[in-house]
């Protein structure tokens, strides 16, 4: 039991580190598709805004890291649990 919890936490931590490390590249990024829309239709007005926007790029990175972490943790937990179950049943 302790092993997959450890693995899940480790997965979360690695994902978080990766996402935070990538934050630097996020600065000054440009959304190319939005730019293309503005070029094709200069008069187009964005008619809706996101309901809530992260206050800083760092906060956004952390949220993305949480999303990746949840996914990696669940997938890792399933794979490791199944692997252990198979071994305890005497499978290869």
């Amino acid at each position: 039991m302790i092993r997959f919890r450890t693995a899940a936490v480790a997965g979360l931590a690695v994902a978080a580190m990766i996402m935070l490390a990538s934050e630097h590249g996020r600065e000054g990024t440009d959304d190319t598709a939005k730019g293309a829309i503005q070029a094709l239709r200069p008069s187009y007005q964005q008619w809706a805004k996101p309901v809530w926007t992260a206050s800083s790029p760092r906060a956004e990175s952390i949220l993305f890291a949480i999303q990746a972490g949840i996914g990696v943790a669940v997938l890792g937990w399933i794979l490791i649990r199944a692997r252990k179950g198979k071994r305890s049943r005497g499978g290869a």
Partner: protein, 261 residues
């Protein structure tokens, strides 16, 4: 991403390759490599109202059908729950990753091919919907108004394209790994081609019309996406193999082609 103990021996190479690719990519970020971000989803408010409504109507039946499929299969085949959870988790993890590409831009993998190869494309729209809602509400990525359009590209077009290529690969008698790889690459690219198509329909170019506009949007997405789609293909093969190795009874019961052997 790859859990060494569950990776079958043959699959370790692609796993290592992908990990190296990701680590190298993030080093570029650390060094301040100039990057342009290509977004997976159409941003909030960037589709005209009529298109938002149209795509919502187009994807609603798929979403409803997938919820019904999932409810039914968890009731009748409880052993499939773990595969549903694993496929959903894979989509969740991959859509949060930003991978750098050769063009200096970065983009997201889609991750829908794993679930498609294991469980058919039927349950995928619901998983895509969860991811899109999460990203639209918490990450300001995509949007509620463009939810229908994004659901169509990520949850319907991508998985169905992957499914067609998976069946095609199996039909031609190709190795399962090759079929899953082809399905994953196609599914990833099809998602972006659909997004480009949706944008072109909404914003036809003044000179060249829909086609010129489609080419323009395709140019933005596709070049960046090809290396990422290939990397995702390797990862999908590793995950599908790990999942298929661990749960044999569920495989036989599911409708997936992998099982029909």
């Amino acid at each position: 991403m790859c859990f060494e103990p569950v990776c079958p021996r043959k699959e370790r190479d692609p796993c290592i390759g992908l990990t190296t690719y990701m680590i190298m990519g993030y080093h570029y970020h650390l060094l301040g490599w100039p990057t342009d971000e290509v977004r997976l989803h159409i941003a909030e408010g960037y589709l005209p109202v009529s298109h938002c409504l149209g795509w919502t109507i187009a994807s609603a039946p798929f979403a409803a059908a997938s919820v019904r499929t999932i409810t039914k299969s968890t009731r009748e085949k409880p052993e499939q729950r773990v595969l549903l959870a694993a496929s959903g988790a894979f989509v969740f993890a991959l859509t949060a990753l930003r991978l750098p590409s050769v063009t200096g831009s970065s983009s997201h993998p889609t991750g829908t091919a794993v679930g498609t190869c294991i469980l058919t494309p039927a349950p995928m729209p619901a998983m895509a919907l969860i991811v899109l809602l999460f990203q639209a509400l918490l990450l300001a990525h995509g949007g509620i108004t463009t939810l229908g359009a994004n659901l169509f590209s990520l949850g319907v077009a991508g998985p169905w394209a992957a499914w067609v290529f998976f069946r095609l690969g199996r039909g031609l008698g190709l190795n399962d790994n090759v079929s899953v790889f082809a399905a994953s690459v196609t599914g990833d690219l099809a998602t972006y081609v659909t997004t480009a198509g949706q944008l072109a329909l909404a914003f036809p170019s003044g000179q060249g019309g829909y086609l010129a506009s489609f080419e323009k949007f395709l140019g933005i997405f596709l070049v960046t996406q090809i290396p990422i789609a290939i990397a995702e293909g390797f990862l999908s093969v590793a995950v599908v193999r790990a999942l298929s190795a661990l749960n044999k009874p569920a495989w036989r019961l599911s409708r997936s082609v992998v099982v029909e052997r």
